[in-house]
């Protein structure tokens, strides 16, 4: 419904757009600009550009706070979560979408139940299991939880996609001598690349941003993620505003870059569960 004429209504629309645009973007720009200021510069000149650009706020994060270690931890957790989730999720979705079994719908329903369980509701038993299997401060344990909690939504969306792949393709491959296993790797997986890429980015964003499980399970400084490091940093030196600003920017940058690179895909993926098409 394209409106082209410059009417009073459209002017009001523009005002609303610009207003909410400013409310959304300005805090981030302000934080970005402030991260290059000295403390005195920030307090005497809150709104303006830095009098001189300094990078020590960032370099301090890496020298004093050893943030690089946290970044590597977060990256490792996120990448492993994405990899395992995609492999396990795609394999299960392939079966649910392509094989006629009476229990198919029941399996799907079983996975959907998982979407109803908030992670807050399982965190106490998780901490007990962690105690029993030495899961505290273990990356593999927390990755296992991330994989498990992300699987339901992933399977829900990916199965939906795989059902739309013509069944004849898989059947033809099998007639041509592929077995069911090869048909997955050679036919279904390559065709599902778009949806897998989208879901992979979403699960990366989710793992990078996660807080409560990391808060409970990762107690050792050597295993802490960026989110945890940010809360610690805030507890210790919140009054150092420019330093805080730099920390915030480091915290949001990775997901922001992914978002700007794959905007439409991410938006579609995040809303796939609620609207179709």
């Amino acid at each position: 419904m394209r409106e082209k004429k410059l009417s009073l209504g459209n002017v009001i629309c523009y005002i609303i757009l610009i207003l909410w645009g400013i409310i959304t973007i300005y805090p981030l720009i302000y934080t970005f600009i402030s991260s290059f200021k000295t403390e005195t510069d920030m307090f005497s000149n809150l709104f303006g550009l830095p009098k001189e650009y300094i990078f020590s706020n960032y370099s301090h994060l890496f020298t004093e706070m050893n943030l690089m270690r946290n970044i590597m931890n977060s990256l490792f957790l996120a990448i492993m979560t994405v990899t395992l989730q995609l492999i396990f999720g795609a394999m299960a979705s392939y079966i649910i979408a392509n094989f006629s079994m009476k229990i198919n719908n029941k399996i799907m329903l079983y996975f959907i139940i998982g979407m109803l369980i908030p992670v807050h509701a399982i965190i106490i038993p998780i901490s007990i299991i962690a105690k029993a299997v030495n899961g505290y401060n273990s990356f593999w344990f927390i990755i296992a939880i991330y994989v498990a909690t992300g699987l339901p939504y992933l399977i829900f969306v990916v199965t939906g996609f795989m059902r739309s792949i013509p069944k004849e393709l898989v059947e033809a491959a099998i007639v041509d001598g592929c077995n069911a296993n090869q048909a997955f790797w050679k036919i279904v997986l390559p065709l599902s690349k778009p949806v897998l890429a989208t879901m992979g980015m979403l699960s990366f964003i989710g793992a990078w941003n996660e807080l409560i499980l990391a808060l409970v399970l990762l107690k050792n400084n050597a295993t802490k993620t960026v989110s945890l490091a940010l809360t610690l940093f805030a507890g210790e030196r919140f009054s150092n505003y420019p330093g805080m600003c730099a920390a915030v920017i480091v915290g949001v940058l990775p997901t922001m870059i992914i978002y700007f690179m794959f905007q439409e895909n991410i938006i579609k993926g995040m809303t796939a569960g609620s609207v179709k098409g």
């Binding site: 006629s100 105690k131 699987l151 949001v252």
Partner: protein, 294 residues
């Protein structure tokens, strides 16, 4: 469709990893939470499990802080619903007009939804801080000094402020879902309405709102479930205290504090069960609806 009987091995091998992880680390723990809520059990290292019947439930339900967290949650839901739905709808409507620059605005409006809630909460803590915070300084500059306050600790307003920050974070999701809904309405409908002399408001109230009724409902449920789950935001904004006092407490926060700070895992499990039932009921309405449609 392939017959699974010919490929039993493959079927089992392909399903097993997902089913195992999912069952072991999501379904069983969820059941365990329910069981634990009937036991008394102290400390992560604590050993003595004692069957406690409904005593944990009685303790939690007679605790004033629990009811404070529930009433905060209700307030949180009301504010989220009454800000996110209208704002999301207005923004979606305007973007659907495809005015010049709409792509840029769409991109900006959704941006907060992908950013680290921890980092964003720290950002808002700085912006709203009492001394040298951006908001207070701005108010001073434009001569509204009497409006300045410590936004995140003043008991009268702090929880409302937190709710509004949550709206800032979440409205992008409502916005894009509604936008997809509005763009699905066929162009001819609007053209026909225009020929009949429909005004902008006729189009909104007679076409768009009735046509997107279901999607508005989905958004409402999504807002409720997302709000029920919010923890990171309040945890970081209040520096882990959910205070001053317990004034900004919500059930997720109370569950965390009771179990992992107070080491009372029995009571913590009761709150976790409460969260699971409330969250489960509400999101089941959402997912089963879209599942049935398929």
């Amino acid at each position: 469709m392939l017959n699974y009987k010919n490929y039993k091995k493959t079927v089992i091998c392909f399903l097993l990893p997902a089913l195992l992880f999912y069952t072991a680390f999501l379904i069983l723990p969820a059941c365990q939470t329910v069981v634990l809520s009937f036991f008394k059990w102290k400390g992560v290292g604590g050993t003595v499990f004692k069957f406690y019947g409904f005593k944990n439930y009685i303790q939690v339900f007679s605790d004033k802080t629990f009811w404070l967290s529930v009433s905060n949650l209700v307030k949180f839901l009301i504010i989220s619903m009454s800000t996110q739905l209208p704002l999301g709808f207005i923004l979606a409507y305007i973007i659907s007009l495809q005015l010049k620059g709409h792509k840029f605005f769409k991109l900006s409006f959704f941006l907060p939804a992908v950013l680290s809630v921890t980092a964003i909460s720290l950002m808002w803590r700085m912006i709203l801080s009492g001394n040298y915070g951006l908001v207070n300084t701005f108010l001073e500059v434009i001569g509204l000094e009497s409006w300045t306050r410590s936004w995140l600790t003043d008991p009268k307003i702090c929880f409302t402020v937190i709710c509004l920050i949550n709206t800032w974070l979440q409205v992008g999701v409502t916005f894009v879902i509604l936008l997809a809904g509005i763009l699905n309405i066929s162009e001819e409908m609007f053209e026909a309405a225009e020929i009949d002399g429909a005004t902008r408001f006729d189009k909104i109230f007679r076409i768009i709102i009735p046509m997107t009724k279901d999607i508005i409902g989905i958004c409402a449920i999504l807002i409720v479930t997302n709000t029920m789950k919010s923890f990171d935001l309040i945890y970081v904004l209040t520096n882990g205290s959910f205070g001053p006092g317990d004034i900004n407490q919500v059930p997720t926060g109370l569950m965390y504090i009771t179990s992992f700070i107070g080491e009372n895992f029995g009571n913590g499990s009761v709150i976790a069960v409460f969260i699971m039932i409330m969250g489960g009921l509400l999101s089941s309405m959402l997912y089963f609806k879209s599942f049935q449609e398929e």
